[in-house]
Symmetry: C2
Subunit: 403 residues, 2 copies
């Protein structure tokens, strides 16, 4: 590990105005003065990406995705140029690099690409020349030479992937001051964690904790890159995401993650036949819909019902899939619910301790909270419930589990 | 010449809103339906470039130029993505290409780069696949892999250079409906020309006629690419810029070009010595200041005075040069005037006919118009005068010369 190299990432809110960009530069320069080589990864300024998407929506409900990537990748390009200008105005040599210039090679489908490699030479050469290297997050280039974007949380992924290639620490600066056991907007007494293991953070992230995307944590985990999450403003201590070890506090439950981005789809009246279930999920996969929780009832009178959850942003795609399915499987009925919240309790300690599910069912029962679906992993249990019950459920769980 | 391929260029005003982009797409599609292969070159939407420059100016009076290119090149990238989306929404296959993706290789200094080659293969392949190819004007990539921009009128240059590589006609759509003998904003009775030779247009452009940049016309001239300039709106006949031939109307004076972007710099008290003059213009060249008119008085008492004009946008650079010169040549005095207008009368017929200069001096004398400098080329005569005399001078010249 080369301790003299640091990758820092600042999100859209942190670079939302020229003054904020200047404040970020000041923070970076402090670390540069200490003798570190610094790569800064930034997102688009404030609401820029949303504004670009709005323009596209004036053209099409479903704009061409290659062109969406071409369009929205301009947001980060503006930020890197401005931030690099600030460094140079302050007498620090600096260079800005777009995704393709930073060697970020991606694959997959447009608007949801994945980094498959980084040709790090260009970044390294600029670092060796003493420059502060400013890299556009969220974007790359594919094998056809098309500009690509990485989807939600893409800038985090860019930062952690660069840190993995440079074998250094990654610092994620954001508008929250660390990782909390529960989202403090929902449970104001929530406690900030000093450490969280990669595994727990991945569960939290994939379950909707919002601070960091799963993919970024996955890369950190794979390459054992410590990720430090802290506030852009002030010097309050943040949270380290790192390997699980004995120095971490021994807790059964580390956190409770909450997601309102849940579309619950139920397909009723499916003739019982394993081929039909496979058709449903095959079609969803072909349309690149990420499925989260799946539950299926036992067959009754030769029919089964199946429910699954997905992100609300895939609703248009799911509507298309629905049409195709109705044509292929006679008589099925599809319904969608969007006032759904998913709650997940996460803790690496659950692996060693039984009865966690039971105690949570008891908490729900004692408080008259009904849930629709349950799924479990080795280190988490997730529930979907009506959004109206969200606040009550979070409050009782956070209190009982001491989060 | 492959008549089935056309390069069209639409400027910033023509693509200023989503509705305008849709109108441009409609115009392009009409030509596509006729069976043509089409490359569309576009500028940034409306005032986008100005807004980006304003952001940079909040950071520095003299922002790093590599980063300026990185910043402002995003403007065209937004337009190409949106326009390509409109084609696809209307059922036409299309692809957008940034400068580097279109193979536009540049050299020179940042913010004022020049195209030195186009690797046209990618554009050709997409055309062969039946796509409408949308290319970002004004930008390219240099030998270091840095994003570059071409300076003022760069999108015209991109369009004509692409047409030269594809050996086809270039159509420039703009907010004026063709080339006029005199700027109609200054002389409302101005006449639109059906044809103008490359040479005349280059003089007009370099002298500030504003419709098209010299460089674009130069490339057209070199590769004998007909350039058609017409209005984005409606179907009024525009003006062809092409080789001079007998079908063109035989006129001595084709046009009068007017430029207010004139900074007149006078250096007084220069010790008479050819080395000193060379020092002055060497330094200006090294700082990439484009010099236009130069006039020098005969030596008097061992000293000479020299005046030259430049673009107002170079004022900061000229201030720097001024400091260096004062340190190097003792005792010189530098003054600058910016309320200056340059008028140039242009006509390929002047080569064959003498006395044009004399008749214009007479017109000025009869109307009490004083001028500060005169320079001549084979097909033009240029004058600088106080801006307060501009309207009067244009009116009398346009009337007397029947423009």
């Amino acid at each position: 590990m080369n301790l003299a190299t640091i990758v820092q990432k600042y999100g859209g809110t942190s670079v939302g105005t020229i003054d904020k960009i200047k404040a970020v530069a000041k923070k970076v320069i402090e670390r540069k003065k200490e003798g570190n080589d610094i790569v800064v990864v930034v997102s688009a300024m404030g609401k820029t990406t949303d504004k670009l998407i709005d323009m596209a929506k004036q053209i099409s409900d479903n704009p061409n995705k290659r062109e969406m990537d071409m369009l929205i990748s301009t947001g980060e390009q503006v930020t890197i140029a401005l931030l690099s200008m600030v460094f140079q105005e302050n007498g620090y040599d600096s260079v800005s690099l777009t995704g393709f210039q930073a060697g970020i090679k991606t694959g997959g489908v447009h608007t949801k690409n994945r980094i498959f490699d980084i040709e790090i030479q260009n970044v390294e050469n600029h670092l060796k020349a003493g420059k502060i290297v400013v890299v556009a997050g969220f974007q790359g280039i594919n094998e056809n030479g098309d500009i690509t974007t990485l989807g939600r949380g893409g800038s985090d992924t860019t930062a952690v992937a660069l840190a993995a290639k440079l074998n250094c620490t990654c610092e994620i600066y954001t508008d929250v001051d660390g990782i909390y056991g529960v989202d403090p907007r929902v449970w104001p007494n929530a406690k900030k964690l000093d450490y969280i293991s990669y595994e727990e953070m991945m569960e939290m992230a994939s379950l909707g904790a919002g601070v960091m995307e799963t993919r970024a944590v996955e890369i950190g985990c794979k390459y054992k890159i410590p990720i430090y999450v802290a506030s852009t403003h002030g010097n309050q201590k943040g949270t380290y995401i790192k390997e699980y070890d004995e120095t971490m506090e021994e807790k059964v439950i580390t956190g409770l993650s909450i997601s309102d981005d849940v579309l619950m789809v139920t397909v009723n009246n499916v003739p019982y036949n394993s081929k039909n279930i496979s058709i449903i999920f095959d079609k969803l996969a072909k349309h690149h819909v990420n499925i989260d929780m799946i539950s299926q009832t036992a067959p009754f009178n030769g029919y089964i019902n199946v429910s699954f959850t997905a992100s609300k942003e895939d609703v248009n795609t799911i509507n298309e899939v629905q049409k195709e399915l109705k044509a292929e499987i006679q008589g099925i009925k599809v319904s969608k619910e969007s006032d759904i919240t998913k709650l997940s309790v996460v803790g690496i300690g659950m692996m060693k301790q039984s009865g966690v599910a039971a105690s949570i069912f008891t908490i729900f029962a004692e408080n008259d909270i009904e849930f629709k679906q349950v799924t479990t992993s080795e280190i988490s249990i997730s529930y979907t419930l009506d959004s109206k019950d969200k606040q009550k459920a979070v409050t009782v769980l956070a209190q009982k589990l001491n989060l």
